[in-house]
């Protein structure tokens, strides 16, 4: 027992020191306590609203059959959902798009002309199956956007149970960028795409947090090791010092991100190889991989976001004296990275309530994720608007960072956690 003599006393001291450090208390305990309930709330709201929306949405049925069974099916659907019917329409690409636009819906069902005949045959020969066709639009914006597909699955399942098991099956097609792709279930496509596209928000999340840590540590290290004062008296522009810090960090973080993406890509490829049979979809042939221009926009979006994050990390770390404090203080910025990354991983920003939508658009770190989704469906404007916004934000942050480096505040500014006020007020002037 002598081995542990003094352990309790020492542990108590450690706990006191850690818990009384407001940076640790806020960053490690209070922030996660708040962040995850907020995130959970957003997620459950979004899933619920997507489900309600799908249930309340009009189900458009194009009836090309005219027999008794199609009437029964429509009546059955009408019992659970609001159904509109269009009779005898040849569904080519343009007609489908027109109908979706006219009814402001994302999917429709076609009852083909042989539906009733097949249903009748099924009575005597159960191997004969009557098909309905499902056409769902795909935008890749949310994991739950094709919830309509599941709603129809459910309704047909109930119809089968009511009339005859396995009498009706669904032939699903997906409308991608205005083109009908036969035989592709939008739901499976969404799931498959998300299993791959999930890499982007995770990469952005890790890249931003990792590089912010490096930037904050790098400035704090100069302070802790007492090299900053010497550096600031050298015959070089202080903006060059700031840019040197940011560039060094970007390079290290970039290499880190590349290594991470390579590893993650390997992980994802091993994951999709075991995907269930029948889902061997090639996203490239469906036009669901970004173009070179799309990749360029994503790269720019990522770069400006990274720059703003690093400049922000440099600013906040200038207010503390040592590495540990710097690492804690950048933790306050993490919710602004984690919440958009995790929320936008699954959700369509357009389906969120207005206040949340504005909040997510206002957070600069949302934009590379929004851009990564937008470029897949060729929506370059969204990506460009995001880049313009983040660039403006970055310029403001860079300006603030350069002002900070130009004045004595880089040495004298300190955060006082009681009320988060600055401990000392210094003259507003700056060196020329």
């Amino acid at each position: 027992m002598d081995l542990l003599k003094g352990f309790g006393n020492f542990l108590l001291k450690e706990l006191k020191e850690l818990v009384r450090d407001p940076k640790i208390l806020l960053g490690m305990i209070i922030v996660p306590l708040l962040m995850f309930p907020i995130l959970g709330g957003i997620m459950s709201y979004s899933i619920q609203s997507a489900q309600e929306k799908a249930e309340q949405a009009t189900v458009l049925v194009v009836n090309n059959d005219g027999g008794n069974w199609s009437t029964s099916l429509i009546a059955f659907l009408n019992f659970s959902a609001r159904v509109s019917v269009e009779n005898n329409k040849v569904l080519d690409n343009n007609t489908i798009l027109e109908l979706l636009a006219n009814y402001n819906i994302t999917y429709l069902i076609e009852i083909p002309e042989d539906f009733s005949a097949k249903m009748n045959q099924h009575q005597s020969n159960q191997s004969v199956i009557a098909y309905v066709r499902f056409y769902g639009a795909f935008s890749g914006a949310s994991l739950f956007e094709n919830i309509g597909s599941s709603v129809i699955d459910n309704l047909i399942y109930k119809f089968n149970r009511h009339w005859a098991p396995d009498s009706v099956a669904i032939n699903k097609s997906t409308i991608i960028k205005g083109n009908v792709v036969e035989g592709v279930d939008p739901n499976i496509l969404t799931t498959l795409m998300y299993s791959q596209a999930i890499a982007m928000p995770i990469t952005i999340m890790i890249l931003l947090t990792y590089s912010m840590q490096i930037a904050a540590t790098s400035v704090a290290m100069e302070k802790e090791e007492k090299t900053l004062e010497t550096l600031l008296t050298l015959p070089m522009d202080r903006f060059a010092i700031l840019m040197g810090k940011l560039s060094g960090t970007i390079l290290v973080a970039g290499i880190g991100a590349l290594a991470y993406m390579l590893g993650f890509n390997y992980y994802m490829s091993s994951f999709t190889a075991t995907f269930p049979a029948g889902t061997s979809l090639d996203l490239a042939s469906l036009g669901l991989v970004p173009s070179v221009f799309g990749y360029l926009l994503l790269g720019i979006s990522l770069f400006v976001t990274l720059l703003s994050a690093l400049a922000l990390a440099v600013i906040v770390s200038a207010f503390v004296e040592d590495v540990r404090s710097a690492q804690s203080i950048v933790g306050y910025i993490y919710p602004l990275i984690f919440i958009p990354a995790l929320a936008l991983m699954y959700l369509d920003i357009n389906t969120l309530p207005l206040a949340l939508k504005i909040l997510l658009y206002a957070i600069p770190y949302s934009h590379p994720i929004i851009a990564s989704k937008a470029i897949i469906i060729g929506d370059y404007l969204t990506a460009i608007i995001g880049i313009v916004y983040v660039t403006a934000f970055t310029l403001v942050v860079m300006y603030l960072a350069s002002r900070l480096f130009a004045t004595e505040k880089i040495l004298t500014a300190k955060l006082k956690f009681k009320g988060l006020r600055k401990r000392e007020k210094t003259p507003r002037g700056e060196f020329q």
Binding site: E229, T230, T233, P235, M236, E408, F431, Q432
Partner: protein, 243 residues
């Protein structure tokens, strides 16, 4: 010939605290001038203002005629500054650190190399310069940093407590470096110290500072004679009414 340093009624406030309170002194070209006084007297703040790190709340300070606020970038070209607790980059070797610093002063590779060679000689660290600075003792690190501050022959070297915390041998070495280098290269030195005995051996003139103000100024020998004291410590005690 303009003065090397001209401080006129310099005041520096940190919130409620007045660190420097109407400080005025002049340093002539080529001399070694010491600001001496106890901890908290305002020496470091005064040196930081001279080194363009802090802005004076009021008053002016000029280095060779250049205003430290309006012409800070020009001032930085002719000064070097050694902070009291300065460190070197831990993962660079002493040699690499000197090279890194030399490149800020010249674009010529030959000149930079010459500076590094000279600094290497000043440090007296020999082969240890190849080791990372994190392996250096406090005295070795200080020798490296003093050499860095002098290697480019600045017009003004601002040295804050150059021998603080060093043992007798290292302190002696650092003092010798300063004395020798100033004579050889006509470098003006503005230094601070709370070790008044040591300053007598290094400085041509001194200003005794207490509570942010100059309370006495002159050559050490003159001050000792004026106050009938054996050393500057006694002079200081008499000036502030302790003795």
């Amino acid at each position: 010939m303009s003065l090397a340093v001209e401080a006129v009624n310099v005041v520096k406030n940190f919130g409620e605290i007045r660190a420097v309170d109407g400080l005025s002194f002049n340093v002539k070209n080529g001399e070694t001038f010491g600001l001496i006084g106890p901890n908290g007297a305002g020496k470091t703040t005064a040196l930081r203002i001279a080194a363009t790190l802090l802005l004076p709340t009021s008053g002016t300070m000029k280095i060779f005629g250049l205003n430290v606020v309006q012409e800070a970038a020009e001032v930085r070209k002719i000064i070097t500054y050694l902070p009291e607790e300065a460190g070197a980059y831990r993962n660079l070797s002493g040699w690499e650190y000197l090279e890194f610093m030399a490149k800020f002063n010249t674009r010529s590779k030959d000149e930079a190399q010459q500076m590094v060679n000279e600094a290497a000689e000043i440090t007296g660290l020999g082969e240890r310069l190849k080791d990372k600075t994190k392996t250096y003792s406090k005295g070795m690190k200080r020798r490296l940093l003093v050499a860095r501050a002098l290697m480019n022959k600045p017009k003004l070297a601002i040295l804050d407590e150059p021998t603080s915390g060093l043992d007798v041998l290292h302190a002696y070495h650092v003092r010798e470096i300063i004395k020798r280098y100033v004579k050889e290269h006509n470098v003006t030195v503005l230094l601070s110290s709370h070790n008044m005995l040591e300053v007598e051996h290094v400085c041509d003139r001194v200003a005794l500072i207490n509570k942010g103000k100059v309370v006495a100024e002159g050559k050490p020998s003159e001050l000792k004679e004026k106050f009938g004291s054996a050393n500057l410590e006694e002079v200081f005690a008499k000036v502030i009414g302790l003795a």
